[in-house]
Symmetry: D2
Subunit: 310 residues, 4 copies
């Protein structure tokens, strides 16, 4: 019995890129893993307290935002991002070992994966019809369970292994540098700053201030805070009504970042905080501390002036 | 011989919201209509000259951008938007007439439509599994051709009519005010200004100017040009590399708009022009002309000064 | 023995507009008054501790900044503005009672006062030569002490009274709405906020950031802080090197103002604080408090988020 | 009869820095020179057509703007700057050859010159009284015509030479790097571009757009146009109402500059054009042409798009 084991819900089934990404993190790989059929159910599971962490894709370099994840974090749940994981994405054409390319009439996969191999399919399998599946793993499982010499699936290598398929062609994705970014979310809590952190927020434009994105960006520019992502999302209140998901270099605990968030919220926008967490990948020299030194000097100066009041 | 008939390719099959939107435009409804299985094939058909116009969804109020359309216009084709059509979206639960709600075990539809009814399904059909189809019309056709007392489809009313299904429940969409915006595209040509026009462009940030969106927005703000849409899209060059699709009030022919586009292109961004076309819906008093009067006065002033040179 | 009497040094001599302005403030009028021959000597007197307060003109609606005052506060002394006084300026032509306008050959005054009556002099006294004096009062005193039927002085009424001259013509200033703004300065201390306060600062551009004024103004704009004055001054380091004297609505003690000053200093500019003090004149509804409510709400939000760290 | 000689009115008398600056320009030195007693009379003389050119000081590195010149160009006359001349300013203490420093009781000069030697006078001639004269030359002339062993004048070397005085001490100015900038103005005409030009304008804020300076500066920033001067001046409509005199690198004929001026005038501010003229001094590589290449490419792009309309 292990009373305190961490439970991690993830967007399943097994055999997808999400599982592959999760397994790159040793502590998550060692946790009790619970695949969920939809992203929403992962987020619900964490929100209800059934799981300690949820692990979901949030963004793909080719397809852009994973709407279910981002909209869940923006509109439906109050969760905090705890870490991010970036995985190189390679898609493989898989089928029964004896299947010949020229005889394939149907290619089954998750629509996003099909879209990412559009050029390959048009060139090499023009006779094949694209068929939607609920996930890349489902496509492989279906084909593994119902062998069909005229069908192939597209998915990660782990899916071929899992469902007894052979990889006919490696790396058929149209854009070879594709990556997907995943996040682990919890019901609350902000990891301590590490010196290379990222912060995610959502800014809602106020209806009476149509040009406010210009002002919002001005706040970051004024403080030399680097933005690594700026995504618009419809607010579901009508065409043309957007919010903006912004990722920035730095941590909530940094004085400059905190100050900026406070000013945004006080004057320009509703702000929803999605988390501060260690940034994936390599980073340049740390601008943040330098900025904070200047801020702290300025704060001391302000304090000394205010001590003269009265 | 058919010397002058207009051919319109659209994202099919028949029985989808796209066809419903197309049929609201009398001149398009009277053209030779050619459904295409994918958005990409619609755009290709126009690009090759096989069709005069292509008609595709570009944006949904709930789901956001239709990636295949926007990415096709941004990256893969050089087409010009000729008009926009906005359609109210209502989704209906349809099945054989004798099917009982309580016996439904599978609900089939296009994933986007399934996602838009998520709350309804969780509340009223918790026992049913969501199953992906290639389109709402395909879901209805499949069920019409293979009757199944335990299955239902989600789609527009035209699909129920077309495939002999009964609408069990009207308007099951979670957000009742949902709309989709469609565009008609041609290989070239810009419609003349009508006084209520919209212009669509794509701005690519220059890699060496990370903060340039702030500057880009400043150009519109400086001219009081109203933006009706601002969407980020990944450029497929790597995570965090974006371009911005911007819709604005006004026409390429307006001096103020032309001037702004020129300045954007000259100094701040690569700009791809996607079209100027009549804006859907009602509009307030025409700001554009007023702005142009001021611009023209300023242009005359500049000309008079320059006449003094030398 | 003079245990507690306040000593006020002012830019003399007696008989000038400065004295007139000072006498409008009852507590200053009741103090021990010490005229000084130059503005610099007033500022030095306060800086050395010989006087508790210094009273000097800082700005005229027609002539602009009084350089000696502003440069003294910016470059040479560290003093704090304690209050401002705004006086309507009327200039009178004064001479011996028997002097006839047509016989006046010389008009003596402080060059600024002569400049402010340029049109009157050109029209009514074209035959008269303008002669510089060290102050309006000196001009009157000189004429009072050395009567001359062909000379007149220009100055405030108090000078005519003081030196036994008659006012030949009232209000000969070219711009009838002229006003001068005076300030009382002390060696240290900031008056408590009254709800209608003004704050004066100097921002020095950093040599390596030539466009920084745009950024500096953006900080105020982002916070909706109203600027009542923006004056450039050469830094005496070379042509084209400026600092900017900025007056804004609000008090150092206001969270929004303090926050803005801190950000300016941290990121954009050297900032010298010249004081927060009650604003002269009438004011509209108090924007400041509203802004602070939003800021405080945002500060609480930030604090609650930060409590989750760790 | 004087068929073609150029007449140049200048701010006299002879023996001032203005004459010294004028004489550095061979073509002006060869013209018919007419000293005028005031700056206003110089500007009037040109405006009436009595003189072809007027030559006046406009800015001193220590004292800042010469108000009479700038206000004349802004408010009272419509003249065009034709060239600028920058002169190093050195002030000398001059007197009868036999005068001893220790016996000087009065130092006479133009108030601005007295102010620029304030520290020298305080240190070396603490016993002397400062006395105002109408110009540095007048001070020297007065002392030359009425020898006084207890008086000295401060002025340029040319004044000592002209009025028979000896320079007792060289270079007594407090700031050794002092310079004054002079301009030659004509009733009309803009010199052709040379590749190193400067343009001077005045922007008047619109009363209903208090934050507009931020927007005005944004127009220059957006085009990377370098500002070499930004001076506020009161508009004489009341305290706190300013206009801004802006000098920028580039010529009215440059497309980028013309475009910027047009946009400023169309949307943000009343703009008064004061001239485009060869810039004094040395300059870096020519940014202007590069910007214009980009602008021209953008203009061609815009033209090609517009050719598709209709």
């Amino acid at each position: 019995m292990k009373p305190s084991a961490t439970t991690v819900a993830f967007f399943g089934p097994v055999g997808t890129f999400t599982e592959e990404a999760l397994l790159t993190e040793p502590d998550l790989a060692a946790a009790a893993l619970e695949p969920q059929p939809t992203i929403t159910e992962v987020l619900e599971s964490v929100s209800r307290g059934d799981a300690d962490l949820g692990f979901v894709p949030i963004e793909n370099a080719i397809e852009g935002t994973v709407n279910a994840t981002l909209d869940g974090l923006i509109f439906d749940f109050d969760l905090m991002i705890q870490r991010e994981v970036v995985l190189d994405i390679h898609l493989h054409l898989m089928a029964q070992a004896s299947t010949k390319l020229s005889e394939i009439r149907r290619v089954v996969s998750f629509p996003v994966a099909l879209a990412q191999c559009r050029k390959y399919l048009a060139e090499h399998l023009p006779q094949a019809q694209a068929v939607a599946a609920n996930s890349t793993a489902d496509a492989a499982r279906e084909l593994g369970e119902h062998p069909d010499a005229h069908a192939a699936a597209i998915g990660p290598r782990v899916a071929a292994d899992l469902y007894g398929l052979s990889v006919l062609v490696d790396d058929i994705e149209d854009h070879p540098d594709n990556q997907t970014r995943f996040v682990a979310v919890a019901a609350a809590g902000v990891p301590r700053p590490t010196g290379h952190d990222r912060t995610s927020i959502v800014c809602f434009q106020r209806a009476d201030r149509p040009g406010s994105l210009h002002g919002i960006l001005g706040q970051f520019a004024a403080r030399n805070i680097n933005l690594t992502k700026l995504e618009s999302r419809p607010t579901k209140r009508g065409l043309g009504d957007y919010c903006f998901v912004i990722d920035l270099d730095g941590h909530l605990d940094d004085e400059l970042v905190g100050d900026c968030l406070r000013d945004l919220r006080a004057g320009l926008a509703e702000v929803k905080f999605l988390g501060s967490y260690p940034a994936a990948g390599q980073h340049g020299p740390d601008r943040r501390r330098e900025a904070d030194d200047a801020w702290r000097e300025a704060d001391n100066w302000l304090g000394a002036l205010r001590a003269q009041i009265g």
